[in-house]
Amino acid sequence: MPIQWLDKLIRRARVKSPWLLHFDCGSCNGCDIEVLACLTPVYDVERFGIVNVGNPLHADLLLVTGTVNRRNGRVLTNLYEQMAAPKVVVAIGSCGLSGGIFRTAYNVIGGVDQMIPVDVYVPGCPPRPEAIIDGVFLALDRLSRPAKSSDRPPLKPVAGRSSP
């Protein structure tokens, strides 16, 4: 009985206190400034306990904007692997989803899911801050479920990853 109670408390705490890490992975800045705008007075995500910690070791949520290329893909996987479980990933903007308008450019591999498993996709070019906050909430749903490492698909081996 106390165990269940504790479990419930922990899950509630997870939903109430998601710390986010924002990584600009080759975006055009349009999405980044919208992510930053979420932190500021009009949208103020701190209402929900969300703070930008800027450190993968502390973060629960990884917000990725922009397309993946060979150089920043390595950084992205590093960041993802450094984050402690439980963790969720939100891909933001058409670029983060599929490469968007840059899909056919020569130095673009594609969306974020080419590198790391993504939980929530937020479309838009750029998505409005409301949409981003909504995406984060969908991701929180995943955090509230018990975390098992077997839940996650393994990292996909893609050309450009440092090591398979």
């Binding site: 705490a13 206190s17 701190e46 910690v53 439980p86």
Partner: protein, 283 residues
């Protein structure tokens, strides 16, 4: 005996709870000052519970040891305080804890955490002499380092030692990690060192540091409240006023660098403290 146990319980449990509450209020007031709504009051508790339940990533075995030591020292300092023990003993215990925290950060190889630890040590170097002088001032006034004696003192100390209280303000700003002296680690990670000393602590370890910080907050506010120790109400009022002032300063100042901090705090703080002490001693 029973009485002592109850006091011990209060120190151990109510201490951090109060510290967390203070942290929550701080976040709300800060947010309001920034034209935002801010999180609920109990946000710090959620943060810590979440951190405790996260996966443990230890970069180096030393880290864990240092964090345990820090937490233990902070607890001990607060317990000594509520048991109204010797002020000097309390000051040294909490200094020990602070040094352990810096040592834990030094144990990792990340440059951010190294530089952060370096700055943390400089901060300790900056505020320790002032804190010590505060102790000496209280001793000269009341004739004892014992908090129990201070508590029995009839007149508010702040009337006799106003400048020393101002010097304690510097210590509080540094100790509570507020602008302009949030050099080693700030609450919001928008500085050149990411999270400074905290950079390489994660999950449960960070949670424990956070709890340690709650103990520290209560301890430093407690020391501050000794300056009007005529009853619980003035004590609480003084501590609250000092805390509110510090939050205000935090929101109206940029972060300065450590060279300036060392020079300014030593020059101003020591001058304030010494002038006050000398005046009292002459008169």
């Amino acid at each position: 005996m029973n009485h002592a146990l109850i006091i011990l319980g209060i120190g151990l449990v109510a201490g951090p709870l109060l510290g967390g509450l203070a942290g929550g209020l701080d976040r709300i007031v800060t947010a309001r000052l920034q034209a935002r709504t801010g999180p609920p009051v109990w946000q710090p508790y959620y943060d810590v519970i979440k951190l405790m339940a996260k996966e443990l990533v230890v970069v180096n075995g030393w880290q864990a040891f240092c964090v345990y030591s820090y937490l233990f020292a902070s607890m001990l300092a607060l317990i000594l305080f509520v048991m109204q023990s010797d002020l000097l003993l309390i000051l040294f215990t909490q200094a020990l804890g602070a040094v352990f925290l810096a040592m834990g950060a030094l144990a990792s190889t990340s440059p951010y955490s190294q530089v952060g630890a370096h700055r943390e040590l400089l901060q300790i170097l900056t505020y320790e002499p002032l804190l010590f002088l505060v102790g000496v001032g209280i001793f000269l006034e009341t004739g004892s380092f014992k908090i129990s004696v201070v508590m029995q003192w009839k007149d508010p100390l702040i009337l006799k030692l106003p400048l020393l209280f101002a010097a304690l303000g510097y210590v509080m700003i540094i100790k509570l990690r507020k602008s302009p002296f949030d050099l080693a680690a700030s609450h919001h990670a928008h500085q050149e060192l990411v999270r400074g000393v905290f950079t390489d602590f994660s999950g449960p370890l960070l949670g424990m540091i956070e709890i340690g910080h709650w103990y520290d907050t209560v301890l430093i506010l407690g020391i501050c409240s000794l300056f009007w120790a005529t009853g619980p109400v003035p004590m609480a009022a003084l501590a609250a006023a000092a805390y509110a002032t510090i939050i205000l300063i935090d929101n109206a100042a940029a972060r300065l660098n450590w060279r300036w901090m060392l020079g300014h705090v030593w020059a101003m703080g020591l001058a304030l403290a010494l002038v006050n002490l000398i005046c009292r001693h002459q008169g």
